[in-house]
Symmetry: C2
Subunit: 330 residues, 2 copies
């Protein structure tokens, strides 16, 4: 691999001069510049960002930790992040947390060892050891999806989104609303969305019946099972079900269809996420659009600002959302 040294000797100048040409800094005669450019052209020389980063202490690489790579939300967010990073001359190194806290921490350390300039964490929990790990890092971290104390974050308005969707269901005259949630270690999805649902009901003086509230694990199959549990355990069958993600909702739809319950006539269904499926299932699924791409962009911008300002100020951005009422809720 050809280096700056080779270019220098081939062009008959010093490495210093080559570096000046490369960076357009300092004084270089037109003659020297031309010679150097020619040699670079001939040899196909590409300067090592590696060596440059070592010297300048800036890698122009940002680490992105995803809870799972192959997921619609993650890839939309990654797309948004990439848009901003690419525009600003950064590259993105991807890390997979596989939905495990230990792995999340491990990846933080790994990215630090790579000397990335910053890290974006798509967070799925707020566990103490995670916060500690972030604290002890010497690389700036911003989070997306969970409100992590002590660092800047971009979060969705999970509480209000869930509450508004529940209110929308109530407004359609549905009173017996079931709920499919997830484990509560995921604070945003597991706790806040559930609270929004509960509060909307309570504001109307309604209490969910025993058995109407079930949990899944983000898969459509678990949504199916949760719906089944609701159906089989409830005294009065719900006339609507609100699931905290589209996948769960799609599973619920499947179950209802399997046992011959008509949607939305007998039981309406709603989810969150505006996944591609939600548009194409029958009936099309009512859901909340979170605009993940925009969220990714905002997060990247937040991180870059932080890098350039060197200030320690913590910032919190709450994303807006949009209710999409489709055929599954009438």
């Amino acid at each position: 691999m050809v280096t700056i040294r080779d270019i220098a000797s081939l062009a008959g100048v010093s490495r210093t001069t080559v570096s000046r040409v490369l960076n357009g800094s300092g004084y270089v005669s037109e003659q020297a510049r031309k010679r150097v450019m020619e040699v670079i052209e001939e040899t196909g020389y590409v300067p090592s960002e590696q060596a440059k980063a070592l010297r300048t202490k800036k890698s122009n690489v940002i680490g992105v930790i995803l809870p799972k790579i192959s997921t619609e939300t993650a890839s939309r967010v990654a797309d948004g992040i990439d848009t901003v990073l690419n525009r600003e001359g950064y590259q993105m190194i991807l890390a997979n947390a596989k939905l495990k806290v230990e792995k999340e921490i491990e990846q933080l350390k790994l990215l630090e060892s790579r000397r990335v300039d910053g890290i974006i964490l798509l967070a799925t929990n707020k566990e103490d050891r995670l916060l500690k790990a972030i604290e002890s890092l010497s690389v700036p971290v911003v989070a997306l999806g969970q409100d992590l104390p002590s660092i800047s974050s971009v979060i969705y308005d999970d509480y209000h989104a869930a509450r508004e969707m529940t209110e929308a269901i109530l407004k359609k005259g549905r009173n017996r609303i079931g709920f499919i949630g997830v484990y509560e270690s995921d604070h945003a999805v597991g706790v806040l969305r559930k609270q929004g649902y509960l509060d909307a009901l309570e504001a109307e003086g309604k209490t969910p019946e025993e058995g109407w509230i079930q949990k899944g694990d983000f898969t459509a199959e678990s949504g199916y099972r949760a719906m089944k549990s609701i159906w089989e355990s409830a005294d009065r069958k719900p006339d609507a079900v609100f699931a905290v993600t589209d996948r769960l909702a799609v599973g619920a739809l499947e179950y209802l269809r399997a046992i011959g319950v008509k949607t939305p006539e007998e039981t309406a269904v709603a989810g969150i996420g505006n996944s591609e499926i939600s548009k194409y299932v029958t009936p099309s699924l009512s859901t909340v659009d979170y605009n993940n791409e925009e969220a990714g962009m905002r997060t990247a911008e937040l991180l870059l600002e932080r890098l350039n300002s060197s200030g320690e100020n913590r910032e919190k951005i709450v994303m807006g959302y949009r209710l999409l009422i489709r055929d599954s809720l009438r």
Copy 2:
């Protein structure tokens, strides 16, 4: 940021010794090892992979160029790649080609300047300037999705998949099969899948009618429009339509539903890709499962083998596929 120098002086040894402890190489007394480990623990020292890479000429980073980040196929493949890379101690730097050849070439150069150990290219074309760019690179490249001459690649069996699906449609007694393809710069999807379709028909002595063959651009909307064109321009309406991707097929389904044509009774529909949507649309879509994750894994393995063997042998792996006949074809 604490460096190996700090550790050395704090532990009262030389950098050499610290390096030996870090890498478990050479002779180190138990005493010295303990001192060093203690200091590392206290300071939270993390060695710079950057510096290490510069010296050892091995970054343990692989570049992955995707045609588009936010796409089901790409993220499944990326997942597979990550599985292997992670297992073997590599990290993945993502690059977005935005479906443009120039951008693909630009990203190749950028990854080379980062001194990645190797590059995986999810290829969408076989243009000459791309091949030239790869040729002039001093980093090993393997391709996925297109059979690029001169480098190793993992490819899907597009021709036979398309042919078999077409034959499956014929076997159901459908004779007037429309086709929705894409531009031919994408050789795998645009040329090979179309050829499979044509050859299957020809083997049965059938010729597609004028207007039955249309093109889209990978979006569901374009599938809708293509179906419309087929319907409006054909003298005899097709009793089946084969689209080269699921998205196109979903668009076609939409159009048929919009004009009140029953699927599959009047007109059957099939796609390729086994996308998540294909399972949940109504009627569920017949499609071909390409097992993208496995393809990603094989590609990563191919690249790593190449890195370790230092041989120049070109290899070509053809992935298998599985026909999934679902409700949209009866």
